[in-house]
Amino acid sequence: MEVITVKNIRKTFGASEILKDISFSVHTGEVLGIIGPSGSGKSTLLRCVTQLETVSDGTIKICGDTLVSGINADGRPNYADEATRRRIMLKIGLVFQNFNLFPHFNVMRNITEAQRLVLGTPKQQAEDTAVMLLEKIGLADKADLYPYQLSGGQQQRVSIARALALKPEVLCFDEPTSALDPELTGEILKVIRALAEEKMTMIVVTHEMAFARDLSNKIIFMDKGVIVEEGDAKEVINNPKNERTRAFLSKY
């Protein structure tokens, strides 16, 4: 089943076109890796799917709901109503490059706050979920600590737990290891790999090529706002067909 369908989306900021006619789809249980140089539009693409940015044109369907379909007569993108957008938002989780944990909440509350406020989950149940997730990411003993007391890798793992607590259908990662040193990067990759084994549907924007190759079912290589090459992960990374892809990958 197609969980995410993106068709012909465009994104312009003033005169510059950040995304040019992007189309792709993600199926249930699939991991999509998005690679490419800085400024190629990978993050913007992810931000459009997670509604942090709006597209200028095109169609995005998520879990059977249409987020946006083309443009209206006035040239503005035809977005779904508030309720639908919110429903879609809750089906997609996002893990940020720099974690963005809430510094004034301890680890437990970082994970329970949205469950309680957004889903209306009772306190005990929310905390049970948090404990279960903390065990899964290997931080069961850190529930009472505040983000500043954790290493970057631990903070990022908590932010993954925070996203998972809402039981999203799809989890997106925006360069989840770019703010971490190689040692801490390993911790995060391990967690993502475990999620992949559980058949969690994921979109991962990353600069970790070996990881993208081993983990993803499908890879998209982007450059200057277009998808230059896409296909089977091992195929794209081991045997890139496009000249631009080859040049980019040779640097790794």
Partner: protein, 211 residues
């Protein structure tokens, strides 16, 4: 001497009333003004900015006189001096607090809003649960400054005839041909501000559980 001290205690009570009532009204009003100042709607933003320019750009003493006498000259309406003082002080301080709030709000990283949005928090939840608690922590030192100034500024209420501490001290001073009451008043202000400083230190410590 005893009579003088008794009178000055009475004046201190009036000063404290001005002080606490001003805080009570100006702290929340400042938040409303910040919202206006940061509004995306120009018809809200521009008048608020002009208003702030006027309030912060003219002497508080003048504003006291204006608030008290303007209704009389325009509508032949006279009202309580104390009420006028509270209105003038509250508006004036709200404008200063508004700028402190704005500084605090703008210091919160964009990622906090984005994380809240993606997790599905409403705008109100994001502001009151995520942003405001962090803002309060960052603005404590600047707010403490402003509150200390307010303790001393309450002396200006005498301009429109409110018998606060400094007015009482001056009256006692001229009655007794001595500057002693003035200096005693100084000690009173110092004690009040010592209490304010201790209070803010405590608050800062209380919020130091995170960084």
């Amino acid at each position: 001497m005893e009579k003088m001290l008794a009178a000055m205690m009475g004046g201190t009570v009036v000063s404290l009333e001005v002080f606490f009532l001003t805080l009570l009204f100006s702290l929340p009003l400042g938040l409303v003004i910040t919202a206006g100042h940061m509004s995306k709607i120009a018809v809200v933003r521009i008048p608020v900015r002009i208003f702030m320019l006027i309030v912060r750009g003219t002497p508080l003493i003048l504003q006291l006189i204006f608030i008290y006498f303007a209704p009389y000259y325009i509508f032949k309406l006279s009202y309580n001096r104390f009420t006028a003082a509270i209105i003038a002080f509250s508006i004036n301080y709200a404008c200063y607090f508004a700028e402190i709030y704005r500084g605090g709000i703008e210091a919160i990283p964009k990622g906090q809003y984005e994380a809240s949005f993606v997790l599905g928090f409403t705008k109100a939840q994001t502001f009151f649960r995520i942003i405001l608690p962090q803002v309060i922590k960052t603005i404590i030192p600047a707010t403490g400054n402003e509150v200390i100034t307010l303790v001393k500024d309450t002396a200006l209420a005498q301009t429109i005839g409110v018998a606060e501490l400094f007015r009482v001290a001056q009256t006692a001073s001229s009655r007794e041909f001595s500057t002693t009451p003035i200096f005693v008043a100084g000690v009173f202000y110092l004690i009040m501000n010592w209490a304010v400083t201790v209070g803010f230190d405590k608050l800062e410590k209380k919020l130091s559980y995170y960084r």
